[in-house]
Amino acid sequence: MTMVNRIDAGPTEESVSAMAATDEWIVRLNATGAVRDDAIRRLHALMLRAARFQVARMHEGRGLGSARLEEIVHSAADEAAMAVMARLDTFEGRSKFTTWAFKFGILHAAVEVRRAAWKHREVDLTSVPDPASDVLAPDAFVMATELAGAVRAEIDRSLTPHQRRVVVALLVEGIPVDVLAERLATNRNALYKTLHDARNRLRVALTAAGHLRVPASEDAIS
């Protein structure tokens, strides 16, 4: 493990102290018996703080109720603590250990809140929204409406049925990709691939219909 310090100034008292604290975390978490158990308890407490912090700032969780949110905090802290332990050997010391570990708590809490918030929601395949008329000038609104209509038509015409379902779920309904992946018992990368392919099809179709400009690089070639 390394801690980068400024060469000209040398390590400050503060950085030495942070390095020592980080070393202590790593040593204790890699120890055995009571020392390790105590370190894991402290790590779990840190993950609880991180999860509470994240849950409190996410608007998606506001309708879930305090009991469910507390359940989510504990569940996320459990998962985050296990993730930190599994990745302990990848910690490179580029930040304080607690800063590095805190992010695991944040990430797991965010995923759990999104999952919970979307758990009982359904996807309405017909709901492709119109552009917001109150924020656009009339000419811009007409153009935006035309483009929205073209996008809607190409979603129906150019995409395969499953591409269409995935696009509507992720881009129109705004279902988080990890939630959709869980519902379909698949993984995020597979959905990203489908989304990428679908976007390419839409871009080609909208460009051919004159709704999008030909990219400069393709212009130069043709």
Binding site: H120, E122, R183, A185, T186, T194
Partner: protein
Amino acid sequence: MTPDMKRPGLPIGPAVSPRFVAWRRAWLVEAGFEPVEADRIASTEELDLHALLSLVDRGCPPALAARILSAPERAGE
């Protein structure tokens, strides 16, 4: 992980919302699965639905796609 969230591969237990299963079933029926087959697939997490529906997208008949992606022991039943 909360008790009512299952890992892929485990059957969905009673704690899972029927709406969740209905949501999966709707995608399957829309893709051309027979209702009985859609019920069976939607109520378990044995199959990767995304892979399954992608196969159907490429022209594979739904029943065959389900057999292709089923576990070997199930496919041999």
